[in-house]
Structures are given as structure tokens and as C-alpha cells.
Amino acid sequence: EPEVTQTPSHQVTQMGQEVILRCVPISNHLYFYWYRQILGQKVEFLVSFYNNEISEKSEIFDDQFSVERPDGSNFTLKIRSTKLEDSAMYFCASSDSRAGELFFGEGSRLTVL
């Protein structure tokens, strides 16, 4: 069964450092998303991406965050200068249509020290 893959599974970084989280969506999917989940809290929407541009973003997704689809297969989330409160599990998801079911990856756990 096709799946969304994410790397790294766990990253530890120092506050202020840049982090890039990588995702390989399901190959024929066109819509891509990032969500995050702080430990013990809700899954929160960050951003959706279609046709090489952001289609929607939440208030969490400020100027420190950016997304990119650099090569037609990877979908990345960059955090420019990490803060302690960025520590969370980050989930990438993809869907084959605007109203399609979202397929989530296993997540990348980010720990900011």
C-alpha cells in the first residue's frame, strides 16, 4: 500500500537553529499538508500546498516557517530559527484531490533544546 514517508523520525536541535523536515508524499497525490501535534495536545493544521504554492495556512505558520517542493517528489517544511515551543511531532499528509482523504506519514519528532 502506498504511504507517505517522513525523515528524520526524530531530530534534536538547539534553539535558534534551522531545521528542515522532509516528506515524500504518495506519488500521484497533488495536495500536500503539514500538521503538528505538541505532546498531549491536538493535531493542528499548519499549511496546505497545491500547484507549487500555499493554498491555506494557519496563524501558527508565521514567517519562521516555509514549505517547498524542490524536486517533484519531496515536500519540505523549514523552520528558520527554532524556538522551544516548536517542539512537537510534525506530520506530513497528502491527498489525491481537494476533497480526498488525507494520508498521513508517521511523523517527525522535533525536540528543541
Partner: protein
Amino acid sequence: LAKTTQPISMDSYEGQEVNITCSHNNIATNDYITWYQQFPSQGPRFIIQGYKTKVTNEVASLFIPADRKSSTLSLPRVSLSDTAVYYCLVGDRLQGGYNKLIFGAGTRLAVHP
């Protein structure tokens, strides 16, 4: 997006049927009802989606009354591996609002031997 209310937690035993009810009093005409499942340290996984009446797949059934102000996810004969958090989401599928999933706190189901 319609707000949803579901029980914080439920307990069950192996082999029993579990019914999780979600209230969505402000559901709009174009809204669909979708349920996701999340295991610890994993991304959410789509279970089932419906608009009205009853939908059944190999995993679960979804019952939606005529007024659509609530819905019930039914898991037949649960096993220990069904221990997870179950999320009820309501969104406008036809106009693209669906792709931004808004997760609530979900229902934490614990299945006991």
C-alpha cells in the same frame, strides 16, 4: 467549520461493540462527517466518511440521523489493537474547506482484555 463534541474517553473490552457519538449541531448543508483514528506516536488514519444515513466499510460503520446534528461511529468486536484516539471532523467537502482538517481533542478509547 462546524464545532464537534465527543466524549473525552471510553473504555471497552475485547469482543464488544463500541459506539462513539459525536455532536455537530451547527453542521452545514455541504458538510461531510469524517472519522480518523490515531495510535500513539503515529499520524491520524482515515476510517470512514459519510453525509447521511449509514455508511459501512471493512473497519467500521457510521450512522447519521436525518437531522445530521450528530453521528455515531460503530466499531464491531473491538480488539486490543483498536486502542487509539478517534476524531470526528466535520467539513465542507464540496467547496474545498475539507482539505483543512480541524481536529478536536478526540475520544480516547481503551480496550481491555
